[in-house]
Symmetry: C2
Subunit: 137 residues, 2 copies
DNA sequence: GTCTTATGTGTTATGATATAACATATAACA
DNA sequence: TGTTATATGTTATATCATAACACATAAGAC
C-alpha cells in the first residue's frame, strides 16, 4: 500500500531539519540563504528538495505565504490545515476529519473530484489576540 | 453596517469586467497585457485595482494559482471556497455555511481568532474527470 | 472658493518567487 | 555492463509583487 521510497539525500534531510527547527515557515530563499554556507548555491536545488519532501508528506507549502513548513504528522495523508498567526508568524497545523469529509462532500456535489486541498486560516493566535485588539502591527 | 464607498474608477471597473468575462483566473500580468492597449503600462496600477476590488468583495485571489477571479456573490461576506480544475483551469466558487462554522470552531478551539480563510480544492471537474483517469495532461 | 484629506494613477526601479534547459553524477538493478 | 530512476550543478530567465515618489482629482470642511 505504501510505496517504498529511497532514503532522503543529505540535502533533502538538511532542508527538512531546517524546516523542523524553524519557529515559522521558511521561504525557499530563506532556506537557500542557510544552505549557502554548506555549498548549495542555486534555487533549483532547494526547490527540488522541497518537492521531494512534499511528495513524501514530510513538508507542506503554505500557499498564502509562499513558504514551507515541516509536517507535524509525517506520513499521514489526511488533509492538513493551517492556522496562521499574522502577528507572530507562527503556523499551527491541524487535521480535522469531519472538515475533510465536508469539503469532499461539498465540492463533490457537482461531480468534482478532489485531489488536493488547501485550507489556510489567517488571524491571531491565542497569545497574540490578547494584545492585538484591532491594530495590525 | 455596510460602509459606503466610492464608485469604481474606470480602471477598476475595467479590471472587474475582464475578470468577469474570463473563463479562468487571470494573473495580474494577464490583466496588464490586456490593459496595455488601453494605456495601462505598469504592474502597480493593476495590483492597486485588484486590491480595491478585493477590499470591496468584488474579486478574489486564488492563492495556489497567484491569480484572480471575479466574485460570483458580490458583497456577500461569507467564506468563499474554490474548486479548481487542474485539467481545464475552470474555477468554481462556492460557499458552505457549515464548512465555515466548522473551520471557525476547529481553529478557535485553541483560542485562535480567524480573520481570513483560504479554501482551495484542486482536482478535476465533472467534465474533465471523464477523460482524465490518472493522466495529468 | 480654497484647504485638506482620501484616493487613484503614472513612472522607474527593484525585490521576491519559481522554473527551463542541459550537463553531470550516482545508486539500484536487470 | 548497460539501463533506469533520482539527485545535483549551473546558467539563464520567467513570473509575481512592491517600494518610493510625483502628480491628479473628487468630496467634504471651513
Amino acid at each position: 500500500m505504501m510505496s517504498a521510497s529511497r532514503p532522503l539525500s543529505s540535502t533533502q534531510a538538511r532542508v527538512l531539519e531546517l524546516l523542523s527547527s524553524a519557529a515559522k515557515p521558511l521561504s525557499a530563499y530563506d532556506l537557500l540563504g542557510m544552505l549557502r554556507e554548506e555549498g548549495v548555491n542555486a534555487p533549483p536545488t532547494v526547490y527540488r528538495a522541497l518537492e521531494r519532501l512534499m511528495r513524501d508528506g514530510l513538508a507542506h507549502r503554505i500557499e498564502s505565504l509562499n513558504a514551507f513548513v515541516a509536517c507535524n504528522r509525517p506520513h499521514h495523508s489526511e488533509l492538513a490545515s493551517f492556522a496562521i498567526c499574522d502577528h507572530c508568524g507562527v503556523v499551527t497545523e491541524f487535521t480535522d476529519h469531519d472538515l475533510q469529509m465536508r469539503l469532499s462532500a461539498v465540492s463533490g456535489r457537482s461531480g468534482f473530484h478532489a485531489t488536493r486541498m488547501t485550507v489556510e486560516i489567517h488571524g491571531h493566535c491565542a497569545k497574540c489576540a490578547d494584545h492585538a485588539h484591532g491594530h495590525a502591527h
